[in-house]
């Protein structure tokens, strides 16, 4: 526990020190919320049952945030650390590997929680979006998203070979996913081939959950199908991580 708290504090220091990473994973969803919220926040989205666009966008940006922070940010960070030999170096210390991973995950979760809080606060003050009523359900959904997307983030590190390629590969996965999944716009107006892709993506189902809970004040268990898809993707991530996660850089020899 002492070691875990030590690691958590270092991870927080490392995250906020790395300005580029903090910008792309933490601030970008917030900035997009500010921009798009100002552009079309006052619109009413008929395809989503006549709800206010700013409320729709707010819940979407929580989804975009979980993909940016827990999936992309975590994945890129770990690949860079692996390839620079830091993970290998840590393995030579008495710090148990599980404590290290839990420290990294804990820190990612803290960042995402601050991000979600900030997005909700901006929604309330600038776009007059009501703070969600179902706070317990909201917490559950945030935790579920953080866990599932962090698992996918851990899993994808095994597929990325170089530190230079890590942000290219991971951004190429998560940016299109964020758009196709309808974090910015309602996917209900998409052409059918995009909707087919959207239907299998975890983020589509995750933003459905955040919108159910945040906009429609439903309980988190109302849509078990969506929870199931997100959890299934998380499980795929765990399996991929167990099979593919490495501590050592690719050998030069």
């Amino acid at each position: 526990m002492r070691l875990w708290i030590h690691e958590l504090r270092i991870e927080q220091l490392l995250f906020w020190r790395n300005r580029e990473a903090a910008f792309f994973t933490f601030f970008l969803p917030v900035i997009f919320f500010l921009i798009f919220g100002s552009v079309y926040g006052k619109d009413i989205i008929k395809k989503e049952g006549g709800i206010k666009a700013s409320a729709f966008l707010e819940a979407g940006m929580i989804g975009y945030g979980v993909a940016a922070t827990c999936f992309a940010g975590l994945g890129i960070t770990l690949v860079v650390r692996r390839e620079s030999g830091v993970l290998k170096r840590i393995r030579a210390t008495p710090l148990p590997p599980a404590t290290y991973i839990l420290g990294v995950l804990g820190s990612t979760f803290v960042v995402f929680m601050i991000e979600a809080f900030l997005i909700i606060a901006i929604g309330r003050t600038l776009f007059s979006v009501a703070v969600p009523n179902a706070l317990f359900s909201l917490l559950f959904v945030l935790a579920l998203g953080a866990l599932a997307f962090a698992a996918i983030g851990l899993g994808i590190t095994g597929l990325v070979r170089s530190s230079e390629g890590s942000s290219a590969v991971i951004n190429a996965v998560y940016l299109p996913m964020a758009i196709i999944s309808g974090t910015f716009f309602t996917p209900k107006g998409y052409p059918s081939f995009l909707r087919v892709i959207a239907d299998v993506l975890p983020l589509t189902h995750y933003t459905k959950l955040t919108r159910d809970v945040m906009i429609h004040n439903q309980h988190f268990w109302a849509d078990r199908g969506a929870i199931g898809v997100v959890a299934l993707w998380g499980a795929i991530g765990v399996v991929a991580a167990i099979r593919g996660f490495r501590w050592q850089p690719r050998e030069a020899t």
């Binding site: 220091l13 020190r17 030999g85 290998k88 030579a92 008495p94 710090l95």
Partner: protein, 277 residues
Amino acid sequence: MSVISVRGLRKSYGGNEAVRGIDFEIRAGEVFGLLGPNGAGKTTTIEILEGYRDRSGGEVEVLGIDPQHAGRAWREKLGVVLQSSSLYPNLTVRESLRTFGGYYTRSRNVSEVIEIIGLGDKADARVRTLSGGQKRRLDLGIALIGDPELIFLDEPTTGFDPGARRAAWETIRNLRSLGKTILLTTHYLDEAEQLADRVAVLRGGEIVREGSPAELTSASAETEIRFRRNGSVIVERTKEPTQRLHELIHEAGGAELDELEVRRPTLEDVYLELTGE
């Protein structure tokens, strides 16, 4: 007491045997050098001892434990410098040492370690702003922060300028005088000669010679006698330089042997002879 004991160690990758049955012992307080050209098996050997790689055969004990089954208590006593620098670029020197120090139940004072590695004026500089040599010294500092009994140094001064190398040697000598056991790999002969109590020369995954630098140079290569006769340089190599010199002087019949030089082999000569380079 032997801190490291290796018997019949083998390691193959696919069909390729990188280490072909080597034996050596390292006693407490000793600085042991593993020498050899690239691809001789130095890094494979040291990484098996550090617990990073599993071996294909043989017996290995490090601090009384098989590294393949070693746990936290074992890692508490170990300091490791990897072949390439492995640091967090956004931390300062002090923060880096504090970070790694926190992983040990008993760690050294951060300021003391900064003093030992000579980064006093860089203590609050970000790692990304350090020079290559300074980063390497911080790597060494991180290896020392847990106050280890045994230190692995994999090519610790590669890429250093001569001044930085001498400073690093001084640090390593200080560690030795504190009673630390050190396993060092290097392909710099002068480094092994300066630091190591004993060296093993690896070639193609086998130890071709082992002993103190002095033993190696006296037992192995031949002394070189060089002089000029009738305008051309004569070079002779012999295991009995006194005898041969006596003969040469006799032959010359009192005439001067121009530009006479008698040179004992350096470790470099022995090394080149052994590794066939």
